[in-house]
């Protein structure tokens, strides 16, 4: 008799735990407001990344096409996987002195692991992390970018 009661109680208890589990899923079924899905390409207009989000390395330019990069090469040294190449050139300043300035700041997005070490190391704050994350392209050569815009110059007040 005892065994029989135990047998029945196991069945009932088992059924109870199953119903409890169904209550959880049922709870969410009848509350469609709790749906957490974000419909990505549709919500592009409203989608805002966090301000520290690391999407790519960019070099901000001001309205006069000036940037802050002195071409010191510290970012190139700090990059763990060789994603940055700095090409410098010698120019003559109006005072007649020879000066080394940046020619091309080449950035290989395809190799970059977005570790933030270059941005952290940059002494002048010339490069920052951008928010763009839609980097898919058809050809990987497009992932090699020149960060300084053509014809851009060093800002006046940047100390070397």
């Amino acid at each position: 008799m005892k065994a029989l009661i135990q047998y029945i109680s196991t069945i009932l208890q088992g059924l109870l735990t199953l119903v409890k589990g169904m209550a959880v899923t049922g709870h969410y079924f009848f509350r469609p407001k709790l749906i957490t899905t974000q419909q990505y390409p549709e919500n592009r207009q409203t989608l805002k990344m966090f301000d520290r989000f690391r999407g790519e390395v960019i070099m901000p330019h001001d309205e006069n096409n000036h940037h802050k990069c002195t071409g010191c090469g510290i970012c190139e040294m700090n990059c763990p996987n060789g994603s940055i190449e700095i090409i410098t050139k010698m120019i003559e300043t109006p005072e007649g002195k020879k000066k080394k300035v940046i020619d091309k700041h080449i950035y290989h997005l395809g190799m970059c692991t977005l570790c933030n070490l270059c941005v952290k190391a940059c002494p002048t704050g010339a490069i920052v992390m951008g928010q763009k994350f839609e980097h898919a392209v058809w050809d990987r050569t497009q992932l090699t970018k020149v960060l300084n815009q053509p014809g851009s110059e060093l800002m006046k007040d940047v100390k070397e």
Partner: protein, 372 residues
């Protein structure tokens, strides 16, 4: 059927290759499984399919650069991996980091542990066939990842610890968000239990399955929640405190059953403990620098350095052999998953295929951590 007849029927063991592409190996682990019908006779894990050569690569990188590679080992406890290397370098240089850094690191590590255990929970449910758990776990993990993204700038590969501190100071929203999360998650955790832990089918499948004794756990070097479920007191946070673990009160989850359900329950309990640690620290984050002054080029003194931390899966050891240059001479990671994996054969012999999946789930394998 008489025994005689049974002897006359010829049976044969056969080998099934589970993986490298298989839904429940969570990556590219290959298991050569000897089967007799449904019964597993022997499991032979074959590793190396995703070997990324992290240990070798570190030999040509400067010390601050090493850290970002460790994100990619055990990607679910990226912060703890970062922290381990950072602590090792700090110990070698005898740099004292500020209290703020210590507390930030501890908070991040506990959040990371929660995120990792949430993912483990939902994947465990999925391996057992309850697909809905997968989405509930990911839903809650998303909140932690948002906290990470706001402060660290990345969701998975954080690269947040640096030698001597952390990459950024905490975001102004950090405290508010973490409090919101802990409040929310304390409400959701009972739901996890209601949905899966208490379920009669789940209990039937896990209780008593694949028991691991304390002696075997020590012999195999099984650490983390897997080892603690067998009674092996191996919590580095408790026995060898680092960062801010010496100033918080928490229990080391020790269980005696050591079966699949014990390992499951140990992780669920650890989530509660992590929440406790976060609650203790979140309101009193000390002021201070988030980055200690370090030299431009970090050179470790000649010698060997070792640091261990508790990741979500067990004990991670970082061994650095330095010859005084700016690159390490040799780096070795004692990764928890690599050690935990080899106990699989011991646990699963004589059980069924479905059990193999369940046991493997509770070992919480992350394959890149095996094939560093």
């Amino acid at each position: 059927m008489s025994n005689n007849l049974q002897d006359k029927i010829e049976t044969q063991e056969y080998i099934v290759n589970m993986g490298p592409q298989h839904p429940s190996t969570h990556g590219v682990l290959r298991l050569m499984v000897n089967l007799e019908g449904e019964i597993v006779k022997n499991v032979d894990p074959v590793v190396g399919y995703i070997h990324s050569g992290i240990e070798k690569m570190t030999e040509s990188l400067a010390y601050p650069q090493i850290i970002h590679l460790t994100d990619r080992m055990d990607y679910l406890s990226a912060h703890m991996n970062n922290e381990a290397v950072a602590l090792c370098i700090e110990n070698a240089l005898q740099v004292e980091v500020s209290d703020r850094v210590k507390v930030i690191r501890t908070l991040m590590a506990e959040l990371q542990r929660l995120a990792s255990h949430q993912l483990w929970w939902c994947v465990m449910g999925m391996d057992m066939g309850a697909l809905t758990t997968f989405f509930y776990g990911l839903r809650d993990r998303e909140m932690i990842l948002d906290i990470f993204e706001e402060t660290c700038g990345a969701r998975l590969t954080l690269n947040y610890s640096t030698p001597g501190g952390v990459m950024f100071d905490l975001h102004p929203n950090f405290q508010k968000r973490v409090k919101e999360f802990t409040k929310y998650f304390r409400k959701v955790l009972p739901e996890y239990n209601q949905l899966l832990t208490g379920n009669v089918i789940f209990k039937e499948r896990t209780v008593g399955l694949g028991p691991l004794s304390k002696e075997d756990a020590i012999a195999y070097g099984v650490t983390g929640p897997t080892g603690r479920a067998s009674g092996f007191a191996c919590d580095v946070r408790k026995h060898n405190p680092y960062s801010a673990y010496d100033r918080v009160q928490f229990n080391e989850i020790l269980r005696t059953d050591g079966d699949t359900f014990g390992r499951y329950q140990a992780r669920i309990d650890e989530m509660y403990e992590s929440l406790n640690i976060i609650d203790q620290l979140i309101d009193n984050i000390p002021e201070g620098d988030y980055q200690a002054k370090m030299k431009g080029v970090i050179k470790l003194p000649e010698g060997e350095f070792y640091q261990r931390v508790e990741t979500a899966r067990g004990e991670l050891g970082v061994y650095i052999l330095s010859d005084g240059k700016k690159n390490p001479y040799r780096v070795k990671f004692r990764s928890p998953v690599f050690s935990n994996l080899w106990v699989l054969n011991h646990l699963i012999k004589g059980q069924k295929i479905a059990d193999l999946v369940a046991v493997m789930s509770t070992l919480d394998l992350v394959i890149p951590d095996i094939d560093r």
